[in-house]
């Protein structure tokens, strides 16, 4: 595993399936980022409030609770504008207009290389 790079933004991974979340965490740690994780939109917001080093939100769309991934992304964009957003989902029919502006979208299952590249591009941009 690559060692954490403190100059890079931390990534918050939001995914309700524990196995898939675990895999996403591993993939992003391998890319050299510090990670936080949450299994629902509510927990994700709690994490955002707790840790101000989170610079990237990586979220699924289908989640339990009142907020799905799209609503969460809109909320985060509204409240913490500098945070970059990556949305990954298995949802088949998706209106591209419902994604926040400037966010990246990947259909599941996603290729690790593509995610890693996007993360690095974002890190460079936010630096």
């Amino acid at each position: 595993m690559a060692s954490e790079d403190k100059s890079k933004p931390a990534v918050l991974i939001v995914e309700d399936e524990p196995l898939i979340r675990m895999e996403a965490v591993d993939m992003i740690i391998d890319a050299g980022f510090k990670t936080y994780e949450a299994g629902s939109a509510d927990r994700a917001i709690a994490m955002m409030e707790l840790h101000d080093d989170i610079g990237i939100l990586f979220t699924d769309i289908d989640m339990p609770g009142t907020m799905d991934g799209l609503k969460l992304a809109a909320y985060v964009r509204n409240r913490w504008p500098p945070v970059a957003i990556i949305i990954a989902s298995g949802v088949v029919e998706l209106e591209r207009t419902s994604l926040p502006e400037g966010s990246a979208f990947f259909p599941k299952p996603y290729a690790t290389s593509q995610i890693t590249k996007t993360l690095h591009d974002i890190a460079v941009r936010l630096h």
Binding site: P18, L19, R21, M22, E23, M27, G90
Partner: protein, 486 residues
């Protein structure tokens, strides 16, 4: 083709047809004979009645007209004649031509009465005048013909009325026996007919939905749409078809399919609309559920693929060799597939935890009495069942390689229960190894341990911990009891 043999002489034909013949009753003198000859010359059929009795018989058999001498209208047989005349059907009025009794200049009261009793009689004076007689007879026969024609028309009318009545009865029998609701409107859309089924379905009083009141029976969200479709059909004659919710007598709304077709006159204008409503509620609900299920299935399949992706990826990360990786991947995915099969059998919803545990242990049982399994048969959700299966597989595989399953004396105690009741009820699952080889904390957390401590805990929304005690490895999973099935 003209066959001369087929054409009967006019005289012969008429003689067979009483209805166009004249009966003659004039027994005295030569009047009867003279009259007969006169009529023959004019091609008018005639028949001589020898008595009043015979005349009465002719009257009963629809004779065309009667020529009678006044002096012959006496005697007791007159009563029978008079009675027959009274009993004529409403359309019939036998015309009489009476040869006046020339000897008397004024009639007695009785004689007048006898004449009146004939009902329809004209008087001719004697001696006979040929032209007077012939004209009178012709006139009488013409009038009689009109009577026959009127009767024909009436019979036809009565027949038509009967047919109409039967047709209506047939329509109602059919309309009320079919399973559909049937309704009908005037060309302007005014509803004036509903069959039995409509009233059975809606439970409303007869006639209460006539006119435009039908719209109130529709679900509020469907009323405007139905109205505009109906208006369009009325204006253009296009067939009407729409799915909407109709209020059932139980108070619930049910989906129905409404359809209607116009009926046109011979000149093409619409004279009526006939429509039906078919209850499609079950089909509609089934379709909605099917869509939901398809979406759900699609989602699950995608998630399953993502899980397989995670397993493969994780295993490759940790494996010492490609062979090692292959064996690990195969056994993990195999275990997942089996767990899936069991879930399909219990239709993706719930199974019991004791079944899950037993199934996961099957490949690891060797008959050597390693396992002691205790716990109530609690229901467990599909995701949790899958995660628990995989965790048990990891634990057992690990125990077979390094722990209690690697030596004959090794023991594994598996037990679970719900502690406390109500909102704070807690579910606890334990796996405790003993009498195995000495255990050491591993230097690296492999997929198995991460699966157990992180993923499994995540699925139960609780916490899990692996501890490497010197007696053996132990594992405990704790969560709120609702975490078993949520």
């Amino acid at each position: 083709m003209n066959d001369p043999q087929a054409v009967l002489p006019q005289k012969q034909k008429s003689a067979l047809n009483l209805t166009m013949s004249v009966a003659i009753l004039a027994p005295r003198g030569r009047d009867a004979e003279v009259a007969r000859q006169l009529l023959d010359k004019e091609n008018i059929a005639s028949v001589v009645a020898p008595s009043i009795e015979k005349l009465t018989h002719y009257v009963q058999n629809q004779i065309g007209a009667v020529l009678v001498a006044e002096e012959a209208l006496i005697g007791t047989e007159i009563e029978a004649l008079q009675h027959s005349l009274q009993m004529q059907p409403p359309w019939s009025d036998v015309p009489f031509i009476v040869l006046a009794n020339g000897t008397a200049s004024s009639r007695s009261a009785a004689a007048k009465l006898r004449m009146d009793a004939l009902r329809n009689a004209v008087l001719l004076s004697r001696p006979l005048h040929a032209e007077e007689l012939v004209r009178a007879i012709r006139s009488a026969l013409n009038a009689r013909t009109r009577q026959y024609e009127a009767r024909e028309r009436m019979v036809k009318l009565e027949f038509r009325e009967q047919q109409l009545y039967e047709s209506e009865a047939k329509f109602h029998a059919i309309a009320d026996s079919v399973d559909q609701m049937i309704w009908s409107t005037l060309p302007d859309g005014y509803h004036d007919y509903y069959n039995r089924r409509w009233y059975e379905f809606t439970g409303v009083p007869d006639g209460s939905t006539d006119g435009e009141a039908w719209n109130g029976m529709f679900h509020p969200d469907d009323q405007e749409r139905a109205w505009s479709k109906w208006r369009h059909s009325l204006a253009t004659g296009d067939p009407y078809e729409i799915e909407y919710r109709l209020k059932h007598r139980s108070g619930d709304y049910r989906w129905v399919l409404g359809r209607a077709q116009p009926v046109r006159s011979s000149t093409g204008e619409i004279i009526r609309w006939y429509g039906s409503c078919t209850d499609i509620h079950k089909i509609k609900i089934a379709e909605e559920q099917r869509q939901l299920m398809l979406a759900e299935m699609n989602h699950r399949v995608k998630n399953t693929l993502a899980m397989v992706h995670a397993i493969v990826s994780q295993t490759l990360r940790q494996a010492d060799s490609l062979q090692d990786a292959q064996a690990s991947i195969q056994s993990r995915i195999g275990m997942m597939a089996q767990a899936h099969d069991r879930l399909i059998q219990s239709t993706w919803t719930e199974t019991k935890i004791d079944e899950v545990v037993e199934a996961a242990l099957v490949p690891h049982r060797s008959g050597q009495g390693h396992f002691k399994v205790e716990g109530p048969d609690l229901p467990i959700g599909s995701k949790q069942a899958l995660a628990l299966t995989m965790a048990l597989h990891e634990l057992a595989t690990n125990a077979a390689k390094y722990g209690a399953l690697s030596i004959a004396a090794g023991k594994i105690h598996i037990y679970w229960d719900i502690i406390d009741q109500g909102e704070n009820a807690v579910f606890e699952f334990n796996w405790v190894e003993s009498k195995g080889p000495k255990v050491e904390q591993p230097s690296r957390r492999g997929f198995g341990s991460r699966m157990i401590e992180q993923a499994l805990a995540g699925y139960f929304n609780g916490s899990a911990e692996l501890s490497y005690k010197t007696e053996g490895l132990s594992f405990v999973l704790k969560s709120l009891s609702k975490g078993l099935t949520d």
